[in-house]
Amino acid sequence: MLRAKALVAGWLQPTTAAIDFSLAAGEIVGLTGPNGVGKSTLLAAFAGRASVFSGHLELQPGLRLALQTQDVPPVDGLPLSGCDLLAMTGASPEGLPPWLAERVDWRLDKLSGGQRHYLALWAVLHAPADLVLLDEPTNNLDAAGVRHLTAHLHERAREGCGIVVVSHDAAFVAAACDRVVVMEVRDVD
């Protein structure tokens, strides 16, 4: 569903090294590499937000995308519950871990940072989509959250969804991903 050949992406100028990448339906691929290598930028390029400076990027036509970024949804001071958040993206609360399912009616700004992050992530992960792009999904999650997320990524992939995960968490990437692509620093010369 996604194929990139010698792709160089960036915002105002190229920031990633040329990379070959492919993703099939039902596959989970991890993107790792040191800070500043352009993992989030590449994810943004897959989503059509960042620019492609050279190379080739091909997405299956009609693909429904869902993107989770590292930005925290701005919900402080707003009367938005977990149910409201899930309804926005069309995600179902079914399958939420018990420690979150019982708080899904709570205001988001009354939840802990980790609980809020997981709900925000769940809303994207379970939105009706064929390709899900996740940027550092384990940020703010405790061990139970990471285990639950890992299990649900596999479940989502079994449904035919392709998933790209950017993460620094080596243990999580090893447990969750079918394949790992390590990005290298761009040679500025």
Binding site: L67, P79, L80, S81, M88, V124
Partner: protein, 254 residues
């Protein structure tokens, strides 16, 4: 006092007391509550300009606010962080005050617009409100999910290929038109108070979006009914009384 004499103003204000708190919830969601004050001032200036030019004031007010709402997006990049609303507010206020100071006709209408003389509402205004309120509420209901999504998940909103213009320009236009209509009836500050205070109070306690909308609606209606009765009883201009009631309610709740 004839009941009929006050029925038209009461119903006109009631329609706006239903609409404005709900509109205010979406303005607060987008952190654009200053827009209400800006559109109200622009509408007042447009009404006065129209009067001086021999046109119906309502037409001038609505047109000016609609132009401000639609045109604001053109300068969005250069006037970020609410600066567009501050500029509109200052322009509207200065034009309105200068016209009122130099034209006797404009002075009378200017006082009415800034005092908020609901009791002088005409049958035409009632019809305009009766037709506009259901349309604006219906549009808000249609736009609601996209407004929430665009605020909470802007990247998700963009990559799903959802068209931004109905949500952005469409909402700006809707807000401008509603505020223009309200300014002609409730006055500048009366309209602003109904847009700002009910959502401010409702958002503090409501546990979900629907609850927030219902609470804002309820607060707006209670304040409107109390203000209508008080202004009538004490023979005072409606706008300031409504603002005082809402502020008092706000202080009690807060």
């Amino acid at each position: 006092m004839s009941t009929d004499l006050f029925l038209i103003p009461f119903l006109t204000g009631l329609g706006l007391a239903i609409l404005l708190p709900l509109l205010g919830c979406y303005l607060r969601l987008r952190e654009e509550w200053l827009a209400a004050l800006a559109y109200a001032h622009v509408a007042a200036a447009g009404a006065l300009l129209a009067l001086v030019g021999g046109l119906p004031p309502a037409t001038g007010g609505i047109t000016a606010a609609a132009l401000a709402g639609a045109g604001k997006r053109l300068f969005a990049n250069r006037l970020s962080g609410g600066a567009a609303y501050a500029v509109l507010l200052l322009c509207g206020w200065s034009v309105a005050v200068l016209l009122a100071a130099n034209q006797s006709q404009a002075e009378r209408l200017g006082h009415a617009l800034f005092d908020g003389q609901l009791y002088f509402s005409s049958g035409e205004q009632l019809w305009l409100v009766a037709l506009s309120v259901p349309v604006v509420l219906g549009m808000l209901r249609i736009l609601s999910r996209h407004l929430l999504l665009a605020h909470t998940y802007p990247d998700f909103f963009r990559i799903r290929g959802l068209r931004a213009w109905p949500t952005q320009i469409g909402f700006d236009l809707l807000a401008a038109l509603a505020l223009a209509l309200a300014t002609m009836t409730l006055g500048v500050m009366g309209a602003f108070a109904l847009v700002f205070i009910p959502p401010w109070l409702a958002f503090r306690r409501a546990t979900n979006w629907r609850g927030g909308l219902l609470s804002a609606l309820l607060i707006g209606l209670v304040a409107y009914l109390a203000a209508f009765a008080a202004a009538l009883w004490f023979d005072q201009p409606f706008g300031p009384i409504l603002a005082v009631v809402l502020v008092a309610l706000g202080l009690v709740v807060a």
